[in-house]
Amino acid sequence: MSVMAQERIEAPAWSARWLADRLGGVALHVAVIGLTIAWMVPTLGLFVSSFRHLTDISNTGWWTALSPPFNFTVENYSKVLAQNNLGTSFLNSIMITIPATIIPAALAAFAAYAFSWMKFWGRDILFLALVGLLAVPLQLTFIPVLKMFNSVGLSGTFLGIWLAHTGYGLPFAIYLLANFFRSLPTDLFESAEMDGASTLTVFFRIVLPLSVPAIASLVIFQFLWIWNDFLVALIYLGGTPPVAPMTVTVANLVNSLGSGYHLLTAAAFLSMIVPLIVFFSLQRFFVRGILAGSVKG
């Protein structure tokens, strides 16, 4: 980018070219800012609503609360937090998310290394099959997998949902990491081979340290997906309070008639806190991870 900026020839002020350049820049900024705002509006609305009274929520739009007289309350939060199973479901979410992130990331790293740097029979076909799995809709697998889980007693257990998330996450994880590993220079591997490093040593001492950005971005993706997952948790764990994660508990706050909506807003916002912390603390890797492999160095 910086090179392009340097190469651009400065046009004199107020010439047609200068005007076009400026307007182009303005249009770009308007578009980007506009899109960002459009994307943030629902979240903002949720945030504002979570501080409003039930009667206000059901009578007027959330934006009316932004003008005086201000009539905010923290009652929704105190009510939600007082519900005794919210703490449990927060712990449940963590219990589900952390192993279900680490297990597939670890397995995928090994598998991706094999796919990208080890020669074995049927490697390319297996990889192709794996990428093909990305196209299989999740819902297709629920009944057969649940039947199997029921027969071996895994449904309703954390182990079951860890396995389920591992299965669903692996194809993409392997695909992402294999592509990154493949972009590492061949000479490094040959040099390490001549230096006497075994396959495992190469993996732990060379591949992993060089792949931190890619692995970090994978971990963030997987973490966010599982934390926000509702369907898989509901199917394999059921909605009972001892095992239900945040998403399921929050959804249960609203009954079919829509009462409890004011609690939903506060609870939803509470459940967003962890993903936000994860994202902001690792976003440095996230940006680099998405670019990973596209540009060398």
């Binding site: 040959e190 081979e193 001549m194």
Partner: protein, 351 residues
């Protein structure tokens, strides 16, 4: 410290893709051998087979008396410097050099001794804690060398190690590598496409083309007695001039001149070759060339003229003080003591 023998080595990828054909070379202990040839000639593949990075399709490679065909790369006791240097980007210079020793599970004190020794030889003492990205190209190249030195291998393999350096640094490093070779007293096998590197550094040179070994010999030997047309054209800058000639009664007749050959040759047609330094502004009683000058190249110490004699293109090296302009007609003398003649069909040297 060991000799290396290529014994009828073949590398074949598919039935009709053979990149190294019947390669036979014996590299003596402590020798600096340069494998040189145009890109894609199989020189790197020959080196990589010795390194253990490519399998050997046919034949044998021996290090000393040991056949290494089925020995893993790490057990061949050789070290290689890659064209890209292949430094581990996340490790410090020290760790880069210590890595092969750690893999051998040497004691820590020994590793430190060897790394410090290598870094002293290469002048890397002040950079040991830096990462490769904080080094210049020349320093990175020295780290790559250091990683090879610490292992104290029997054979050093260098795959175009200077091609990523700028011209000035390349010249310096060429000299440093020769010194290093003298100090280490180890066999060096050096692959390059640059004939200047080959001429200046090699104790002996092996020239390859299209997977076939063309000639092995000392730089002087190859320069003065090229075995065939390819070698004659590949070694030496500017290139040797080649002129198609017909032969009759010991005289070679070209389109613009004729010259008496020093020796009788049993052939009717051939290609006459002579280097630029054989064509000078000194008059010759034997053969005079009338050249129409197309290009003049002044290098300070030399002046090269490129032009036409009859319908043939010829290069001459003349006194730099001689004033010549493009389009001039000049009279040049041909030194017939260093003539080369190649068979028109086989391209082999006849003189």
């Amino acid at each position: 410290m060991a000799s290396v023998t290529y014994d009828h080595v073949v590398k074949r990828y598919t039935a009709d893709l053979t990149v190294v054909k019947d390669f036979n070379v014996e590299i003596k202990d402590k020798e600096f051998m340069v494998l040189v040839g145009p890109s894609g000639c199989g020189k790197s593949t020959a080196l990589r087979m010795l390194a253990g990075l490519e399998t050997i399709t046919e034949g044998q490679i021996r290090i000393g008396d040991r056949v290494v065909n089925n020995v893993a790369a790490k057990d061949r006791d050789i070290a290689m410097v890659f064209q890209s240097y292949a430094l581990y980007p996340h490790m410090s210079v020290y760790d880069n050099m210590a890595f092969p020793l750690q893999m051998k599970k040497l004691p820590k004190a020994e590793i430190e001794k060897r790394v410090n020794n290598a870094s002293r030889i290469l002048g890397l003492d002040n950079f040991l804690q830096r990462k490769p990205r904080a080094l210049s190209g020349g320093q990175r190249q020295r780290v790559a060398l250091g990683r090879a030195i610490v292992r104290d291998p029997q054979v050093f393999l260098l795959d175009e190690p200077l091609s990523n350096l700028d011209a000035k640094l390349r010249g310096q490093t060429r000299i440093e590598l020769q010194k290093l070779h003298n100090d280490l007293e180890t066999t060096f096998i050096y692959v390059t496409h640059d004939q200047v590197e080959a001429m200046t550094m090699g104790d002996r040179i092996a020239i390859m083309n299209a997977g076939i070994l063309q000639q092995v010999g000392t730089p002087d030997d190859i320069y003065d007695h090229p075995a065939n047309l390819f070698v004659a054209g590949f070694i030496g800058t500017p290139t040797m001039s080649f002129v198609p000639v017909t032969l009759q009664n010991g005289t070679a007749k070209a389109s613009g001149f004729e010259v008496k050959l020093p020796k009788h040759v049993e052939s009717a047609k051939g290609t006459l070759g002579f280097r630029p330094e054989a064509v000078t502004d000194k008059p010759s009683e034997v053969a005079t060339l009338d050249m129409k000058v197309d290009v003049v190249e002044r290098l300070g110490s030399d002046q090269f003229l490129y032009g036409q004699v009859g319908s043939d293109t010829i290069t001459a090296r003349v006194d730099p003080r001689l004033k010549v302009e493009v389009g001039d007609q000049v009279k040049l003398g041909l030194d017939t003591r260093s003539l080369h003649l190649f068979d028109a069909e086989t391209e082999l040297a006849l003189l």
